[in-house]
Each structure stands twice: as structure tokens, then as C-alpha cells.
Amino acid sequence: MNRPSIASPMTEYKKAPRIVIRGLRKHFTDIARQEEIVAIDGMDLDIGENEFLTILGPSGCGKTTLLNIVAGFDQATSGAVTLDGEPIRKPGPDRGVVFQEYALFPWLSVEQNIEFGLRERRIPKAQRRERVRKQIASIGLSGFERRYPQELSGGMRQRVALGRVLANDPKILLMDEPFAALDAQTRTIMQQELLFVWSAERRTALFITHNIEEAILLGDRVVVMTARPGRIKEIVRVALPRPRDVTSAEFNQMRRKVAALLEDEVQATFAALEGALGNVSG
């Protein structure tokens, strides 16, 4: 198995990395089955200034756990995670999270959802109004300010979720399979819009996905994870210029390469699953 080198995995970025992860381990205790589950088993990773990093891995490989630790929702069992040199201890507005399930406040309208962070951080009202208005325009939801999330399509809801986070002007965007629940067409549109927002505002982004094409389309680098226990199998640099053409020969070559890396891990996940099922029925 390919183990990542312990030496700094990022040499190509000149600026200091914003997120630094060293020796990250995360264990869970499965109370029902009385066993320790190792979600992340030693991880070193740097995320550079304005870098778009995608994390690709089979289900259960600990990629969401990684995001939860960076977000501050979960605590690492051991190891260090820092943002601009500061250890991460709890969630905060400097790390905006976009969830797969949108997680909008259903009792608040579009504009109130986007205003939520600003209001809770006691930004003056006049300033809030202006930021909210601009943000709604930039996510293309002008005219929908008074609508409730219940009245919006999945794609529109995810735009609100993105706008709500961007209104806070975070240092880093954390996205946990944000488009997985959308249909293929909407997903493509959302990917393009996300890239547009990202390149217009140049932000650091950590994007979790199990979709190979999405990982390559969006990422400056693609981190391929192993099956549980989660480690970094390989970091693939995507040197293709944007906008990327998913039908081009270069893109497909990249896709084949990443798919081959992922194949073993998907197999391993299945084998583990079958083993577990075998244990239950046997």
C-alpha cells in the first residue's frame, strides 16, 4: 500500500499554507459492538492559500470526519490541525461549512438565512442589508428574498447555503458532498457556479466528494483516500487549465488514473462490508 511521505506533502506552494494537518488520528467507540473504529489513521496535509482541494474516497473512509474536525464539530483523538497557525477547537465563522443536506433554517426566509451569521455576529444593520443584497444577487436569487427554503428547489437551497456562508466572508470554505443530493443537470450548473464564485473571490476551499469527475473538475489537487482506516493514498495534482473540459483527452486520462487509484479502495470497502455482514449472519 502507498503510504504518504511524512515530509511536507506540499512544496509547490510558496505562501504559507492556511490549514496544516499533522499526524491526525480519530477513533470512535462503537458502543453497540464494543469496538474501536479508526476513522482517520495518521494524516498529514496542507491546504494552501486560495487552493481548491478536493478529497475523494470510498464511503466510510473518514472524509466527512476530516471535514468535521477542520470545521471544529469533532475533536481529533491525536494530532494537530491549525488554521493560520491557530489550533482549531470549535466551529467559527472563519470556516464556512456547506452541508449535503443544506441545513437551512426552515423558519427563515432566503434573505434571513443569508443574514443569519451577520446578525448573530452583531454586524450593524445598515451594513448587513447591503451585504445580504449583494450576496443574494451573486447567487442569482434576486426576487426570491422572501421565499422560505421549503418553497425552493434543491439547487436553489444549496445556493442559499453557499450564500449564507459567503456572507460571513470566511477564510476557508468547507463543503461536504454539497451537490450529492442534486440531479445531474443541476449538479453541473452548481459546479460551474461554485467555480465562478471561487475564482471571482479567490478563496481557500476543501471539498469532499465520492465523485471522481467532480473531484478532478473542481480541484487544484485531488486527495485520494484509502478505505477505512482512512489515510491519504495519493495526492494527484490537476494541472489542467480552467474551465476544464470533461470530454477532453487530458481530462479522461486524469480520470483513468484517479479511478485506478480508487478502485482498490472501493474493493476493500466492499470486502470489509461483506465481512461484517458475514459476521452478523454467521
Binding site: 470545521a71 470549535k90 452541508f99 433554517f105 426552515p106 456562508v165 460571513n168 457556479e193
Partner: protein, 278 residues
């Protein structure tokens, strides 16, 4: 970027809508009408002893006298409004107390583990005890006065309100709390800004159950522990076998209970307007 237009159903008054509306009204009126006709036939054909079940016509006449008659001309003449106001006042007062205490305590129980561990067992222990069994204590401590009714009504309505509120608060999706935290909410604002709005559907369920119980209990309280109100009239008229007045009082309570439930439902519909079609 293209934005899809959202079509809203148009609201107009065309003939098809009027017809559909009329059909709905007819369908909903048929049931009560059948009951009324059967009741009338039962009295005219003497299937039931009219001394015990007076005819709807008698009830209507008695109601009229009770509501609008010259006070003093018969024992109940013209006293309806006073009794109804008395009962409504007690229901309203008791319910408000129950709502304030129930929602507050429910939030604390649902949100703070310590409060739940300390208070919830007491509530679960007291909840199955019929409120009627508190009547002797109410009379001893509060006397034959409004306070007794307030106490009984508030106690009865408190339980569904506190239990539903606590369940709603405890069931707040963890994801929404995470979302609020990553957006920079201060810890003590999570309860008012996220948890309580998320629990609102449960709180309103509790309030509706509570107002229903309040009308049950005001009658109990007035029969046993107060000397006015619709419940008192029922008990008093029973001694004189004025079954017409009893039925009149029953209908009054039914109508008032329906109206107060409707009021809460309308307030709830406005507060929960975000959840339409959920």
C-alpha cells in the same frame, strides 16, 4: 445565471371554484344535520323520555331565555353571558399560566440535561394522576373561588404543553445547531434563535392539547370548586332536572372550545407559515 420562475396557483372566483366550495359545505353540514333530525324525531316519537332528553326545540327556547331573557323572570333568565364570561376568564387565565410555565420549563428540560434529570421524573410521575384528584387540595388551599379553577386548569393544561415542548426542543436537528455554530452564533443564543423556532410545531401541538383540556377542567372545577360559570350551571340545573339548560351549557362549551382551538390554530398557522406543505 438563469432563475426558474415559480408559478403560484391563481386565486380567483370562477364558477367551478364556487361549485366545489358549495359541495364541500354541503358534505360537512350533512353529519350534524342527521344528528339533529334524529334527536328531533326521538323527542316527537317519544323514543326517549322528554323529561331526560328534551327536544331540540325546547333546548332552543330555553337557550333563548337563558341568553336574552329578562333577568329574574325564571331562575336562569339572562344569566348566560355572565356565566360564559366567568368560564372563559378561568380558561384563559389558567391556560396562560400553563403556557408560560409549560413552554419555559419544557425548553429547559429539553435543552439542559441536568434540568431534565432533576425535573422530568417528577413530571412523569404526576402526569398520570387525574387532575380531578387534586380538587380537594385546590378547595383547601384556594377555597371556593377563581383561584381553585385557575390552579386546576393550569395544572391540567401544563402537562401536554411541557411534554410536547420538551420533545420538540430535544429533537432539534443537530445539523441546524452545527450550522448556527459555524455561522458564528454565541452559545447562549442557540436556544432562542435555533432551538425554540425549530420546536414551534411541537409547542403548538402542546398548546392545542392544553386548550382542549382547559375547557374540560373548567367544567370540572366549576361543578366542584366554584359557584359560577357554565360548569356550575350544569350542576345546578341537574338538581332541578333542567336537562334543557344542561344541553344548552354543553353546546356553549362545545362552541367556545371550538373557537379557542380555532384561534390557536390560526395563530399557529401564522407562526408556522414557513412549514406550509411540509
Amino acid at each position: 445565471m438563469t432563475v426558474l420562475p415559480v408559478t403560484v396557483p391563481t386565486s380567483g372566483w370562477d364558477s367551478a371554484r364556487i361549485f366545489a366550495g358549495a359541495r364541500l359545505v354541503v358534505r360537512r353540514v350533512i353529519g350534524p344535520l342527521v344528528v339533529l333530525v334524529l334527536w328531533y324525531l326521538a323527542s316527537t316519537h317519544a323514543w326517549l323520555d322528554p323529561r331526560f332528553v328534551p327536544s331540540p326545540v325546547t333546548v332552543l327556547q330555553s337557550m333563548q331565555e337563558w341568553m336574552f331573557g329578562q333577568s329574574g323572570s325564571t331562575p336562569y333568565s339572562g344569566t348566560w353571558l355572565q356565566h360564559t364570561l366567568n368560564s372563559s376568564y378561568r380558561v384563559f387565565g389558567g391556560f396562560i399560566i400553563a403556557a408560560i410555565v409549560g413552554v419555559t420549563l419544557g425548553c429547559l428540560i429539553g435543552w439542559f440535561r441536568l434540568v431534565s434529570d432533576l425535573i422530568d421524573p417528577i413530571i412523569q410521575m404526576m402526569r398520570p394522576i387525574p387532575i380531578t384528584s387534586w380538587v380537594p387540595f385546590a378547595v383547601i388551599f384556594f377555597g371556593i373561588r377563581d383561584a381553585s379553577a385557575f390552579f386546576l386548569i393550569a395544572l391540567g393544561a401544563f402537562f401536554p404543553i411541557v411534554v410536547n415542548t420538551a420533545a420538540g426542543v430535544a429533537g432539534t436537528p443537530k445539523l441546524l445547531i452545527r450550522a448556527a455554530r459555524m455561522l458564528g452564533i454565541r452559545r447562549y443564543m442557540i436556544l432562542p434563535r435555533v432551538v425554540i423556532p425549530a420546536a414551534m410545531p411541537f409547542i403548538f401541538t402542546g398548546l392545542r392539547l392544553g386548550i382542549g383540556l382547559a375547557w374540560v377542567l373548567v367544567i370540572v372545577a366549576e361543578m366542584l370548586a366554584v359557584k359560577s360559570g357554565l360548569g356550575f350551571v350544569m350542576w345546578d340545573s341537574y338538581y332541578f332536572l333542567r336537562m334543557d339548560i344542561i344541553i344548552g351549557a354543553m353546546l356553549s362549551v362545545g362552541a367556545l372550545g371550538f373557537l379557542s382551538d380555532l384561534a390557536i390554530r390560526l395563530i399557529g398557522r401564522w407562526v408556522l407559515r414557513w412549514s406550509h406543505g411540509l
